[in-house]
C-alpha cells in the first residue's frame, strides 16, 4: 500500500471524527476466551528481566506475579518458574498439557496477546535469560522450556501472516485507520481511547490524549518509580540486610499492590483490544482460516515438534536466541519471510476488496472487460480501464479476484490501446470455482467485467529459500568468508555467580 493512500485514509478518519474500518472484513483470527492467553510484563528501568507479569486467558482473568526486587535474579527466576507452567500449558507443551502440540488438529488455535511490541520484546529477554541456562536449580528444565517457548514466540511474531502471537496495538492498526500520527499509534491506551472513548471527535481525542499520559509499555512512568516504588524497594532491601522479615513482608506487599495495578491495567487493555476486534460487525476474511491452518503447522514445526523431541530425548535443535549465525541460514530466513509475506497477502486478498483495490492502485492487476473470446483455442482479448499503467509484462500470471484457481497468462499487452491478450491456463470447466468456473472458450465470458490481480507466486520464493538452505560451502562463495564469532550466552555460568542473598546490591 502506498504512503499517500494511508495519508488520505487518515484524513478521511479525521473528517468523520473516529477510527475508520480498514476494509470491509477483519483480516485476523481472534481466539475464543479460553484460547486467548493475555500477558503483560513490567520491568525495572534499565533491567531486562521482568519485575512482574500478569497472565491468563480472558475466560480465567489475570493472575499477577511480582517480585519486590527486580534486580534479584533468584527471585525473578522463581517468579518465572511459577509463570512458566501457565503459558507452556496454554500452548500444549507435552509436559504441561494432556493434549500435546500438533500440526494437524481439530483443536482450536491457541493465541497469546500482549499489549504492544515492548511486551513482545520481553519474550526475547526471557529467552536470553533462560533458554540455555545451565543454572543449578531443580526447576531449570521448566525455565529452559519457558525460554525456548519465549524465543520461538518472539521469532514467530516476525513471520508474516502468523496468527499465534499478537501485539494488541498492531491488531488494532491492522483493523482500523486512526486519525492520528503513526508515532502516537504505538500506545494501546491511545488507540482504545479513539475507538471506545466517546461519541464525537473531541471526546474521543480527549480520551485518547488522557490515556496516552499513562505508560503501558514494560517500564513504569519514571515519576511513579521515583516517588512510589524506589522508597519501597529501598525499604525492602534495608529490611533484608537487617534480617527483618516482617518489614520485608510489608514492603513486598506494597510493591506487589503497586505493580499489580499497573500490570492488570495493561492486561485489561490488551483484553479490551482483543474483544474490540472480535466484536467488530465486519465478517472475518475467508482467507484467515488458511492462515490459521498454516500457523498451526508452522508453529508446530518451529516449537511443538522440538518440545516433543526434547521430551523423547531426541536432539531438539532449538533456534539461537541472538542470531542466524551463518549467511546460509540468514539467507534462508530472509527468503522464507519474503515468501510468507506474499503467501499471507495471497490468502487475504481474495476475501478483501480493499486489498484488491490496493493491488490495483499499485499496478499489480487490472479492471478489464473481455472484448473477445477465441472459441478454438483459449485466448481472450480484454480492454482494461484501470490503472492506466499496470506493472504487467508478457508471461505474468493473473487471477480473477475472489477466485484464485482461475489463472490467466499475459500473452500480449498494449499500453497505448489499453488492451491485453490473455491466455487462460485451464481447459475444462471448474465447478468448484462457482459462476466463473466456465470453460475458457465459453461465449459467456464475453462482455464480463473482471478484476484481475497478480497471482503472487510465493512458491518461487519458497523454492529460493529451500535452495539457499541446501546450499553447501562451495569454496568460491563470498559468504563462505563470513565467520561469526561465537557469542557468549548471557545465561551461562559466565553470567557471574548467583548468590543466595541475591545480586541486587
Amino acid at each position: 500500500m502506498s504512503a499517500s493512500l494511508e495519508t488520505v485514509r487518515r484524513l478521511n478518519a479525521w473528517a468523520i471524527g473516529e477510527p475508520l474500518a480498514r476494509g470491509n472484513v477483519i483480516n485476523m483470527h481472534v481466539a475464543d476466551d479460553e484460547d486467548l492467553f493475555t500477558v503483560s510484563f513490567l520491568r525495572m528501568g534499565g533491567e531486562s528481566r521482568p519485575w512482574g507479569v500478569a497472565f491468563g486467558t480472558i475466560a480465567d482473568g489475570p493472575t499477577v506475579l511480582t517480585v519486590p526486587e527486580g534486580r534479584n535474579r533468584q527471585l525473578v527466576a522463581d517468579m518465572m518458574a511459577a509463570f512458566a507452567p501457565a503459558i507452556l500449558g496454554h500452548f500444549r507443551h507435552p509436559s504441561h498439557s494432556e493434549d500435546g502440540p500438533a500440526a494437524y488438529s481439530t483443536q482450536p488455535l491457541r493465541q497469546v496477546w500482549l499489549p504492544g511490541t515492548s511486551h513482545i520484546e520481553m519474550l526475547h529477554f526471557i529467552a536470553a535469560a533462560y533458554a540455555r541456562s545451565t543454572w543449578d536449580r531443580p526447576d531449570i528444565a521448566v525455565l529452559n522450556a519457558l525460554g525456548n517457548l519465549a524465543n520461538c514466540l518472539f521469532i514467530e511474531s516476525q513471520r508474516p501472516g502468523q496468527q499465534t502471537i499478537v501485539a494488541a496495538t498492531e491488531a488494532l492498526r491492522n483493523s482500523y485507520i486512526f486519525p492520528a500520527t503513526p508515532v502516537r499509534q504505538a500506545h494501546l491506551g491511545y488507540l482504545l481511547g479513539w475507538l471506545n472513548g466517546g461519541t464525537d471527535r473531541d471526546a474521543r481525542m480527549a480520551s485518547a490524549q488522557a490515556a496516552e499520559k499513562l505508560s503501558v509499555s514494560t517500564v513504569l512512568d519514571p515519576h511513579i518509580e521515583r516517588t512510589v516504588l524506589q522508597p519501597l524497594v529501598s525499604a525492602w532491601g534495608n529490611a533484608r540486610n537487617e534480617g527483618n522479615t516482617s518489614l520485608m513482608s510489608v514492603a513486598s506487599e506494597d510493591i506487589q499492590a503497586s505493580l499489580a495495578d499497573e500490570l492488570t491495567m495493561r492486561w485489561h487493555l490488551a483484553r479490551e483490544a482483543a474483544e474490540t476486534v472480535r466484536s467488530d460487525s465486519r465478517t472475518v476474511n475467508s482467507g484467515v482460516a488458511s492462515l490459521c491452518t498454516d500457523t498451526a503447522k508452522s508453529f508446530f514445526r518451529s516449537w511443538g515438534e522440538k518440545a516433543l523431541n526434547e521430551l523423547a530425548d531426541v536432539d531438539a535443535f532449538w533456534p539461537n536466541v541472538f542470531t542466524d549465525y551463518g549467511a546460509r541460514s540468514a539467507g534462508f530466513a530472509y527468503q522464507l519471510r519474503a515468501a510468507q509475506d506474499q503467501k499471507a497477502r495471497h490468502a487475504l486478498v481474495h476475501g478483501d476488496q480493499e486489498l484488491q483495490r490496493e493491488e490495483l492502485a499499485s499496478g499489480h492487476g487490472v479492471i478489464c472487460t473481455i472484448t473477445s473470446v477465441a472459441t478454438d483455442s483459449p485466448m481472450w482479448k480484454v480492454s482494461f480501464s484501470y490503472p492506466d499503467l499496470p506493472t504487467l509484462k508478457h508471461g505474468d500470471k493473473l487471477v480473477i479476484a475472489g477466485t484464485p484457481s482461475i489463472i490467466l497468462e499475459v500473452h500480449e499487452i498494449d499500453f497505448d490501446s489499453h488492451t491485453m491478450m490473455l491466455k487462460p491456463t485451464w481447459k475444462n470447466a471448474k465447478p468448484k470455482a462457482g459462476a466463473l468456473g466456465m470453460v475458457p472458450t465459453s461465449k459467456e465470458w464475453r462482455g464480463k467485467e473482471l478484476v484481475l490481480i497478480d497471482e503472487m507466486p510465493y512458491g518461487i520464493d519458497e523454492r529460493r529459500a529451500t535452495m539457499t538452505h541446501r546450499k553447501k560451502t562451495s569454496g568460491s562463495d563470498i559468504t563462505d568468508l563470513i565467520v561469526a564469532r561465537p557469542r557468549r550466552h548471557a545465561a551461562l555460568d559466565d553470567d557471574g555467580p548467583v548468590l543466595a542473598s541475591g545480586d541486587d546490591q
Binding site: 488520505v8 528501568g45 536470553a128 557471574g496
Partner: protein, 322 residues
C-alpha cells in the same frame, strides 16, 4: 527545555529518566572501571579491540563520578596531557576511561567539553592509534538489538572522533596520534551486568555527519549575528522568555524527545495544521489547513488551484470495483 515545558504546562512530566535505570547505568560503569578495570580490559581483549597483551589503564573520571580527578578542568588537563604524552612517544597499550577533551572555540561557537566513555590505545607501526568507545546499559540482543539505539550510539561516537581530531589539531598533535575510524560499543548481556563488546563499528559516515553538524551550527551562530546571548539577555528568566517566544516547527520527531511537544501539538491543533495527523499529512496538504481539507472532503468547492489539486489527490487514490 524542561523548564520551558513546565512554564507552558504545569503538569508536564518532571522525571525524564528512571531512577533505577540511572542507578543501573552507574553501577555498570563502576563495575567495568573500578579496581583497575579488569572486567573492561578483559572484555576489550576478548573483542579484539586491544591486543591480548594490553594491560594499561588510566582512570580520568572526576571525583563526582567515583574517579581520582578533582574537577572537570583537572580532567581536561589530564586528557590533553595524556594525548601529548602519547605523541611524545610514551608507551601506553590499553584503555582510558572518561578521557576529557575541550573542543576549541569556533568563530562564533563557544568551546565545549566532551567526555569520552572509553578510549582504547594501541601502537600500530610505532604510532599510537586511539579509538573511541561508548558504554550503554541496554542489552545486546544480537541481531535483534534496536537499530535506533545503535544508530544513536554510533552518532555519538562519530562526534567523539570529530572532537578528538580537532582537539589533536589544536594541540598540534595531529601528525603524531591517529584517530581510528572504527569505534566500539560496550553493551550488557541481557539480564546481566557482564559487558558485551561490539567492535569494528564503522564511524566514517558518522564522523562526516558530526563535522557537517558543527559547520551548520557555526553558520547558524554567524547568521544570528549576536542577536542572543548578549549581556542584556543572559539572565535565566530572559533566556527562558527567548525560548518560549522563539518560533517552533512541530513535527512527528518532536513527540519522541521534546518535553514541549505537547504544548506545540496543542498549538498546531488550534491552528488546524495538518501536522497533527503526521508529517506526511502536512506535506500532503501543502499549506492548506486541516479544517479546509475537511470542508473540501465534505463537498465545499475548491477556491484555488492548490485546493483543486488537493481535492483531486484526495479522490483519486483507489478505484471503484465493478
Amino acid at each position: 527545555m524542561g523548564a520551558a515545558a513546565r512554564r507552558e504546562n504545569s503538569n508536564a512530566p518532571r522525571d525524564a529518566q528512571s531512577v533505577f535505570a540511572l542507578e543501573r547505568g552507574n553501577a555498570f560503569e563502576a563495575s567495568l572501571i573500578n579496581n583497575g578495570a579488569p572486567i573492561l580490559l578483559e572484555a576489550l581483549r576478548g573483542a579484539e579491540v586491544i591486543s591480548p597483551t594490553s594491560t594499561d589503564f588510566a582512570d580520568h573520571r572526576t571525583s563526582s563520578n567515583g574517579g581520582p580527578l578533582t574537577s572537570l578542568d583537572a580532567a581536561t588537563e589530564a586528557g590533553h596531557a595524556f594525548l601529548k604524552s602519547l605523541a611524545e612517544g610514551n608507551t601506553f597499550n590499553g584503555a582510558v576511561s572518561s578521557l576529557t577533551v575541550r573542543i576549541p572555540r569556533g568563530v562564533m561557537l563557544p568551546e565545549a567539553t566532551l567526555i569520552i566513555d572509553v578510549l582504547s590505545v594501541q601502537i600500530v607501526k610505532s604510532k599510537p592509534v586511539i579509538a573511541v568507545g561508548e558504554i550503554k546499559t541496554y542489552a545486546d540482543q544480537g541481531g535483534h538489538t534496536h537499530r535506533s539505539d545503535l544508530a544513536t550510539a554510533r552518532a555519538q561516537m562519530g562526534l567523539y572522533v570529530h572532537a578528538l581530531e580537532i582537539t589533536l589539531e589544536d594541540l598540534g598533535l595531529a601528525g603524531a596520534v591517529s584517530v581510528s575510524l572504527q569505534g566500539f560499543l560496550i553493551l550488557t548481556h541481557p539480564g546481566s551486568n557482564q559487558p558485551s563488546v561490539r567492535s569494528g563499528e564503522d564511524l566514517r559516515y558518522q564522523l562526516e555527519r558530526a563535522r557537517r553538524g558543527f559547520e551548520l551550527m557555526e553558520e547558524s551562530a554567524i547568521m544570528l549575528d549576536g542577536a542572543y546571548g548578549n549581556a542584556d539577555d543572559t539572565e535565566e528568566a530572559d533566556l527562558l522568555e527567548l525560548v518560549l517566544n522563539a518560533p517552533t516547527h512541530f513535527q512527528d520527531s518532536c513527540i519522541t524527545f521534546c518535553e514541549r511537544a505537547d504544548a506545540c501539538y496543542q498549538k498546531a491543533l488550534a491552528n488546524s495544521e495538518g501536522v497533527v495527523l503526521g508529517d506526511d499529512v502536512a506535506r500532503f496538504l501543502n499549506g492548506i489547513s486541516l479544517q479546509r481539507a475537511e470542508d473540501l472532503m465534505n463537498g465545499q468547492k475548491p477556491a484555488t488551484a492548490a485546493e483543486k489539486d488537493l481535492l483531486a489527490r484526495l479522490q483519486s487514490q483507489l478505484p471503484a470495483l465493478p
